[in-house]
Amino acid sequence: MQRVRNLLLTIISVAIFALFLEKAPTFLNGYWQRILNLIAINAILALSLNLIYGMTGMFSLGHAGFMAIGAYVSALLVLSPAQKNAMWILEDIYPWLLDVNAPFIASIIIAGIVAAFFGMLVALPVLRLGGDYLGIATLGFAEIIRILITNTARLTNGSLGLKGIPAHTTLFMSWGCLGVVLLCMVCMLRSNFGGVLRAVRDDEVAARMMGINTFRVKVLAFTLGCFGGGLGGALMGNLITTIDPRMFMITQTYNILMIIVVGGLGSVTGSIIGSALVTTMLEWLRFVENPITIAGINIPGIPGMRMVIFSLLLIIVIIFRREGIMGMREFTWDIFFPKRKAKSQEKISESDTVLEVKDVVLKFGGLSAIDSLSFDIKHGQIMGLIGPNGAGKTSAFNVISGFYKPTSGTIKFMGKSIGGLRPDEVCRAGMSRTFQNIRLFGHETVLQNVMIGSRIRQKYSWWMTLAPFIFTDVIREDSAVRARAMDLLSQLGLADFADDEASSLPYGAQRRLEIARALATRPKFLLLDEPAAGMNPQESEELLQFIRRLRDDFDLTILLIEHDMKVVMNVCDYIHVLDQGVHIAQGTPEEIKANPRVVEAYLGKGAA
């Protein structure tokens, strides 16, 4: 009902806007038409960079380079052989290039694909870098692309650039392209795959433990973003009709980055508003550089003044409203209507036998964090792993869950060796964990956090999310996942918080949410890293009940690290003790309590 209403409203407003574009040439002069075109193109560029940076968290300063690729590819395809013959003055054009031709629409799609291809080539090596280093490396690539364009004159006409590109970019073209990009992107971001992108941005480590191959997701998002960059560049070239390498300097990337930040990083709506605002402002401010006459006094234009005013405005915006216009919010029709909430039910059960750790050694350089650890866990057991600080407990967890590769030894999970698998592969095999320092996707809602955990159990591919109305699996599977996530939340007493931001929950609830998220991956085996940390005696009493219930309700096998001896002794069937990487004892809680070596490890020699 609500959906139909929103769809109708969207269709009506798109139709009105299309009518406006249709009539625009009759009442808008060339100058304003050009601004409208630029708004659409900048919005495409901003959306694509926002996908890379705002949604997936990869700081890229390379967009101008991918724009350049797109602009050149498209221009070379639409220019006629006669034009090409006339333009290459300094060096001869490659003969094969003379006859390469394509219609405009095909040329901009090819432009996007070529840019995406180069984007992928760049992404594969550099996405291993994080943060600012990634930014600098991508900036470097963009500059290299520009220098290559300048120096391969037979292909690109070098620094002279290309002139006389037919002005194919009409209002319908630019806004039509924006419409398609917008539709695909909104659909993708609303699907659970969109949640995965944001999860990679918020906490890569936790995302990997949710079974997500984060590297693959990042390469994918980067490649898609570069497609947008190429498309935008191609449209730009066909609007301005002249391109040369100097157009695609770092300043161009800065402009797009400004649009995103002014609009709101991570907001689709923000990118469009930002584009409209920044583009109009930049064009409108041109008046300060032209001579004007006010009340008979002639004021000469001041070159450079436009950017001075613009940069001042930018600094003021960033200082006083740093989250941008939209923040991370999005426009929906719902803001005009009061809210309602949805609920539903589903049930799960799975089982098998479990983990065998044999002679595992973990060394960092010369330092050994774990020195020959062996144990196994039977189905349905709750096993404790205890030891003083620095004993190697979390290291053991990290080895089992795939964050560290064991130096030697074998780990078998349900009969299969998992030593050396990546965290996401381990997760797919049916293991999940929580973290000592809670790692939630803080900006996402409680519900979305849990849904991301279910992504690996979904069957649809990422590209289907671009057009969910065709691939209805996306909608069906996402709604099943949502229902299951709600079910998990209500089982863990979190249903009331479903739409709250995860980072706003109280501490205890965050711990439970982390467990709910882990359960969403449908694990057979759960690792809990200090679940009682920071809880008061009453809360840890509740936790005891909760862990037992988890095992029974979800048919789990559990391995937990814990310092709270009351929890350990009461909940565990069997306990292993580590001290400085050495496996010093094992047994039932009673045996451990009586073991002198354990007491010595905790309290020091002589205490026993």
Partner: protein, 298 residues
């Protein structure tokens, strides 16, 4: 290539490299402390050169006095940039400060266009620095080529002494390690950050002045390319490390000059080498030559 020409190239590379190094030091100090790429640093460099132009050509001050005035004025500009555009954003996400830095960079460049006009201006070259000296074996060098690296090394040496042998230096290193803890130790964090900006700007001013002497002219956008190159040098050497920045600058200078000297046909790709070098080092040593390894705690 005979020895004479090689020595010319060598000195040329040394002075270009040490100029990159001087600017890179400013980037690395600010980044080490605030994790901020100060995009406006290249423009501070440009201001240094312009102030000398004004002091000597417009106000006819003696050259040495002009240089000192210019360094002081540039330092003040650096401090103002920090105070106005970065300080309000200390607690904000890092992207905010970065955008602010881009804004400041645009502002300074275009303000320079408004005030100084976009036309390149000539620079006074003191004759004593330009008169070639003959060495045995027919090697001819101008004193400027030797002066530049000497000045650069002395200044960076002084900075290292300040960083490693004085209290403010200790505070600066502590801040780059953990800003909150340092604040709790009673260090006036904002003053130390201002000190870093001031020192960085002073060094950039000196570099800008010497740069203008080498290519005897100044123009509003002269800081853009050296700025980006110097930042690359800082990343290359391991951002946050002062000796790393100097080494990175020198390597970059040598790669640029020597690649063109030995392979003149590739001169169009000169700028690409710097970036290629950067990407290579990032792939094999992600935190640069002297950078510290960082790891995300799980």
């Amino acid at each position: 290539m005979n020895l004479n020409i090689f020595i010319q190239h060598f000195i040329n590379a040394l002075s270009l490299g040490s100029l990159y190094g001087l600017v890179a030091v400013g980037y690395t100090m600010v980044y080490g402390i605030l994790r901020l790429i100060n995009f406006a640093h290249g423009d501070i460099f440009m201001l240094g050169a312009y102030f000398v132009y004004f002091a000597t050509i417009v106000y006819h001050l003696p050259w040495a006095v002009g240089v000192i005035t210019a360094v002081i004025l540039t330092t003040i500009c650096g401090l103002l940039v920090d105070r106005i555009a970065y300080k309000p954003l200390r607690e904000a996400p890092r992207i905010s400060a970065l955008i602010s830095a881009i804004g400041v960079s645009f502002f300074i460049e275009n303000f320079a266009v408004v005030v100084f006009t976009g036309m390149p201006r000539p620079v006074v070259q003191p004759p004593i620095l330009m008169k070639p000296i003959e060495f045995s074996g027919g090697v001819r060098l101008i004193p400027l080529g030797i002066l530049v690296p000497v000045v650069a090394f002395v200044l960076v040496g002084g900075l290292m002494w300040l960083l490693y042998c004085t209290k403010p230096g200790l505070a600066m290193r502590a801040i780059s390690f953990d800003i909150e803890t340092t604040r709790m130790m009673g260090v006036s964090v904002n003053k130390i950050i201002a000190l870093a900006f001031g020192l960085g700007s002073a060094l950039a001013a000196v570099a800008g002045i010497m740069w203008a002497l080498r290519y005897p002219r100044v123009e509003p956008f002269m800081g853009m390319t050296p700025g980006i190159k110097a930042f690359i040098a800082a990343v290359f050497g391991g951002i946050g490390s002062v000796p790393g920045a100097m080494i990175g600058g020198l390597i970059l200078g040598f790669v640029e000059i020597m690649s063109v000297a030995f392979f003149p046909t590739l001169s169009g790709y000169k700028d690409a080498f710097a970036f290629l070098l950067l990407i290579m080092i990032l792939l094999f040593r992600p935190t640069g030559l002297l950078g510290e390894k960082l790891e995300d705690k799980i």
